[in-house]
Symmetry: none
């Protein structure tokens, strides 16, 4: 555990007060060249504006200035877990991303179908990006592979991507990649990076050899590349650290996996933003912390669809009264990172943040937007500070020192 989490653990108290953390994925944006307004600044958000006016605002730096984060490290930071310390292997992350019920001790790896020539040299690391249907078909074939004393699953992700999971006794993830990450070379043997991982290296190489034989006539997808061997990490739970009973209201697999990793209970959340807010109402009594995740803003940003992102934000604003009516002691609305439609990708830009509570010491920001939050009295601050602030405003932290 990091020093700050240890400190918080020492001073956190269970209490009846409730915290709602609404994460609009990829919330931050860049100004449209015609209007000079970002997606959030373009959206009509009367409810968010009024909450910003009553609350305290700022700009959150997701993981470190200038760094563009993936959604996993960005969310961990918002939950108070330093993403440079609490890392998740690539294989595990892919398994979480397809909702694979990974168990403790399983070893997961990210796989690519790839193309090799007759000598075994890699011609295309992505096998011409085969269709997801083709990927599913090949994964079903590879799932038939038998290896002594091990159960294994090969599950499609998208196009050429898949996940392979090995389950057995004493499996270890300290394994080198078989993927050399460049064409013109042969796939590498998986090597054990610790003595204990020797047996696991042998069986993963056996898997790769059998996969190669099965795929022999499946050009262009005639070989596999594995990387990011990893196991479910052990993170302290939000209950241990914060004494919370957290619920996650999420609609995308990876976020369900992340929420479980920090000990949240993932509740049935429906598919739409409105259904998520309904789920919040339904589960409100049984929990004291709610992570409500809105994926659609990020998806619109990645598609470069400025207006759709505006609409998603307006949809959240329209649903907000359901949350307000529940009167949680603390409401936080922010994003995990920026996804400006103009960049069609995640970016490094800090993210608008608002916190409302009876005790927040409001500033004079009267609008929820990048430019207004830049003038908020929280300034530009690291995502790791969000949970301590939320807990403090919920009066869930006792004094540090005498």
């Amino acid at each position: 555990m990091t020093a700050i989490l240890e400190q918080i653990k020492e001073i956190s108290l269970p209490s009846p007060s409730k915290i709602a953390l609404v994460i609009i994925d990829g919330l931050g944006g860049l100004p449209h060249p015609e209007t000079q307004k970002t997606e959030l600044e373009t959206a009509q958000t009367p409810n968010l504006n009024s909450l910003a006016k009553k609350g305290i605002c700022g700009l959150v730096v997701p993981v470190s200035p200038g760094i563009t984060p993936g959604s996993a490290p960005a969310h961990l930071a918002l939950f108070g877990y330093d993403p440079f310390r609490f890392t998740i292997g690539r294989g595990t992350l892919e398994a979480l991303g397809i909702d694979f019920p990974l168990q403790e001790g399983d070893v997961a790896a990210r796989g690519n179908f790839c193309t090799i020539d007759k000598k075994g040299v890699i011609l295309d690391r992505r096998a011409g990006r085969i269709s997801t249907e083709k990927c599913l078909e090949l994964c079903q074939q590879l799932s038939q592979i038998k290896i002594d004393k091990v159960r294994l699953w090969v599950s499609p992700v998208k196009e050429h991507r898949f996940v392979v999971v090995f389950r057995g006794d004493n499996l270890r993830p300290e394994l080198s990649d078989s993927d050399p990450q460049q064409v013109g070379r042969k796939p590498k043997q998986v090597a054990a990076l610790s003595l204990k991982a020797k047996q696991t290296a042998i069986l993963t190489n056996e898997f790769i050899a059998k996969a190669k034989a099965i795929l022999m006539n499946s050009y262009p997808a005639n070989m596999v590349l594995l990387r990011g061997f990893s196991q479910l990490p052990h993170f302290p739970t939000m209950n241990e650290v914060y004494k919370l009973k957290p619920a996650a209201i999420v609609t995308y697999p990876m976020y369900r996996g992340l929420a479980k990793l920090v000990g949240m209970e993932v509740v049935d959340s429906g598919d739409s933003i409105e259904e998520e807010f309904k789920a919040l109402e339904q589960h409100y009594a049984a929990h004291d912390f709610f992570f409500l995740h809105v994926k659609q803003a990020d998806a619109a940003g990645e598609d470069g669809d400025f207006l759709r992102k505006v609409q998603v934000i307006e949809e959240v604003d329209a649903a907000l009264p359901r949350l307000l009516d529940l009167q949680p002691e603390v409401i936080v609305v922010t994003g995990d990172h920026s996804t400006p439609a103009l960049l069609k990708a995640h970016s490094w830009h800090p993210v608008p943040f608002l916190l409302y509570s009876q005790w927040c010491r409001s500033d004079d920001v009267a609008e929820f937007s990048e430019s207004a939050c830049a003038k908020g009295s929280l300034g530009r601050f690291p995502a790791l500070e969000v949970m301590p602030l939320a807990l403090a405003n919920a009066l869930k932290l006792t004094k540090f020192g005498a």
Copy 2:
């Protein structure tokens, strides 16, 4: 390497985009008592103001709040190298400052000519601040000293200050100072601080003894004091860490040395500000990162010459269109630290900062000045964040985590 540099190294990519980092040495100032305006606020800077208006602004904290830095640590921080971790010994710094071609393995020390009495007790640690001409003459005498298996150079710096460099096999810098840093005491024997440094301690003491003999009749400069024994440090280069091809446009020796230490190519830069901007034009095609250093503002500040510092800043502003015409993707203008003319010295005050890029998410600062930048949306931030921000804005960093 520090953790953040390791991270940046993992995610940095070579790309055609270009970054110009203009450092006006000692840029920050304090308000003149008559006008209540700082040097920068007094200067007419239409080009910097318009760049600030298009860009994003803030105040840079050079190395740590309240700390007044030397130019070496302040520049290292701007280059992304934590000056508390990447340290340069005093002897090495002095050698860089006089453009001495220090080689790997050389041991350099900072020297003072001093005055001792007949019993060898120090009366004046600076020998009455002898003239630089006298210093040169004495250094030439000391350069005649012969020590077995070692080459040595004694080079004047200014007044009583000199540098001595020893070159030979297996020389080590783990040596205590001979300078007791106070009068009324005798110079100390140089002691080895590691087993391997024993031989080097012996030969430096031999040098000191021979110097004493030579200087016997050179009162008041009748003895030497040595301190800061050190070797050229090994820093990761900006190419290794950032994948950049950096060029340094500098006119002062120490900055050339610093630039080389982080792997910049030091190009022929002329003597004046205008010539430096011409050099930028000439070398623009061959590099993707440009450190352009303007020393004159700091020199004016140290002289307490408020108006000359104003003029230097105006000269930079007048030359700026040459840089703007090149249209680099990212332009940063800031200083390494403040040198208020009113203090006639470096100071701890944070330094005005502006960054312009297509993706900077501009704030509403419309003027490049201490007071305007204090309201910029970057807030008050550490110099170590400058490079990650510049690289991000040049789209040279990929995503951290999935």
